[in-house]
């Protein structure tokens, strides 16, 4: 897993990209917890989002969960292939399973997110 990933407590990951963009997805822990994914709704390109605000929804056989923006900004790209290939989220959650790319309002906002070690500790705590 890339060392430059940051995580929200709500299990989204964020990776800084060239040009000041960030790529956002959901962690492998979240994908496993959801199980049997059946449907996903993504935001429109151009949508302005605030950190902590829902940017999409994902449904498994028994539960619907929101996907939250880890930072504020504008959605500039959406992985439109994903809803038709939800298995990608399980196979490659940090690669082809990316969900959106956001242009953050504040390039330093992601600094407040969890690093890998802190996120692993959070997940370990929730698993017990």
């Amino acid at each position: 897993m890339a060392a430059d990933l940051k995580f929200a407590k709500s299990h989204e990951w964020l990776r800084p990209e060239a040009g000041g963009l960030v790529t956002v997805g959901i962690s492998s822990y979240a994908v496993e917890a959801l199980t049997d994914l059946v449907f996903m709704q993504l935001p429109a390109v151009g949508k302005k989002v605030k950190a902590g605000e829902s940017i999409g929804e994902i449904e498994s056989v028994k539960a619907v969960s929101d996907i939250y923006a880890p930072v504020s900004g504008e959605v500039v790209e959406v992985n439109t292939a994903l809803p038709s290939h939800l298995e990608t989220l399980g196979k490659d959650p940090y690669g082809d399973g990316w969900i959106v790319r956001i242009r953050p309002d504040n390039p330093h906002e992601a600094d407040q997110l969890l690093n890998q070690a802190a996120y692993d500790a959070l997940v370990a705590g929730q698993s017990h």
């Binding site: 917890a33 059946v38 449904e59 028994k62």
Partner: protein
């Protein structure tokens, strides 16, 4: 008492009011940091859509087209309410009972199987099927909840005359909404066939499936035993509340119900 589960048994209400009350229940669960349960019925009979279902599908579904429709925040298939007992269970997401979706399902569904057995009514949990791809799973899902089967659904053999070879029928299903701070689990127990639905949209309930000569318990006795077993499986006890949750939180429920009563919400998909 730390492991007490407060339960309210509310009066029947319209769909939007019920959804508003459940949203208020979620806020209350977060504020109290504990599992809360609300039981209720529906008046008038209505269809509740799962969060992702299409409103047009409800209008085109034979046998329910004239019923009022409300959209749940929880997932799953459409339910025709009126002859069922609905429950809402709300628990903070980071509570031990909220961290695993399966835990609450197992508690509520397993307890119902056990409770029914106390009246010699045979029920079981639907077993796990083989792995399916997400696309296949989505494409094959019937519109109505009681036509769907998910692992852990409560099913009963069909003891009606001439139906002995029919596959087990579903009498209880649940679905969740995992919110940022809490989990809301909705479930429906089909007590009798819903007279508000017709044709293939009408499903048999416990009353019909149990067959002749089987004593059907009074609903309050069944629910009392069920809740007791739910609590036991969670290592807790039931604290049945006097009065109704929706009644006590009337102004907040009315405020929240407004959104659920709007076409913009119900027909958003």
């Amino acid at each position: 008492m730390a492991n007490s589960v407060p339960v309210w048994w509310d009066e029947q209400a319209a769909g939007a009011t019920n959804m508003g009350a459940d949203e208020a229940l979620v806020a209350e669960a977060v504020a109290r940091g504990m599992l809360l349960v609300r039981l209720y019925g529906w008046q008038p009979a209505a269809v509740s859509l799962g969060a992702f279902q299409r409103f047009d599908d409800a209008r085109q579904c034979s046998g329910i087209a004239s019923l009022p429709v409300v959209r749940r925040p929880s997932g799953g298939g459409a339910i025709i309410h009126g002859s069922d007992l609905t429950y809402a269970a709300a628990v903070p997401k980071h509570h031990p009972w909220g961290s695993s979706p399966q835990r609450l399902y197992d508690a509520f569904h397993g307890a119902m199987v056990e409770a029914l057995a106390g009246w010699k009514i045979v029920a079981s949990l639907h077993p796990a099927a083989g792995p399916a791809t997400p696309a296949a799973a989505s494409a094959q899902e019937p519109f109505l909840c009681f036509d769907r089967r998910a692992v852990g659904d409560v099913v009963m053999p069909d003891r009606r005359l001439g139906r002995e070879q029919a596959p087990p029928a579903k009498v209880m299903g649940s679905a969740q909404r995992r919110l940022e701070g809490a989990v809301l689990q909705h479930g429906s127990l089909l007590l009798t066939a819903n007279a508000a639905a017709s044709g293939s949209a009408q499903h048999p309930g416990i009353q019909e499936l149990a067959g002749d000569g089987v004593e059907i318990p009074a609903i309050k006795d069944l629910v009392s035993r069920w809740l007791e077993l739910v609590a036991t499986s969670l290592g807790a006890s039931v604290a049945l509340q006097t009065g109704s949750f929706a009644g006590a939180a009337r102004s907040e429920v009315d405020r929240l119900a407004e959104r659920f009563g709007q076409v913009r919400w119900t027909a958003r998909r």
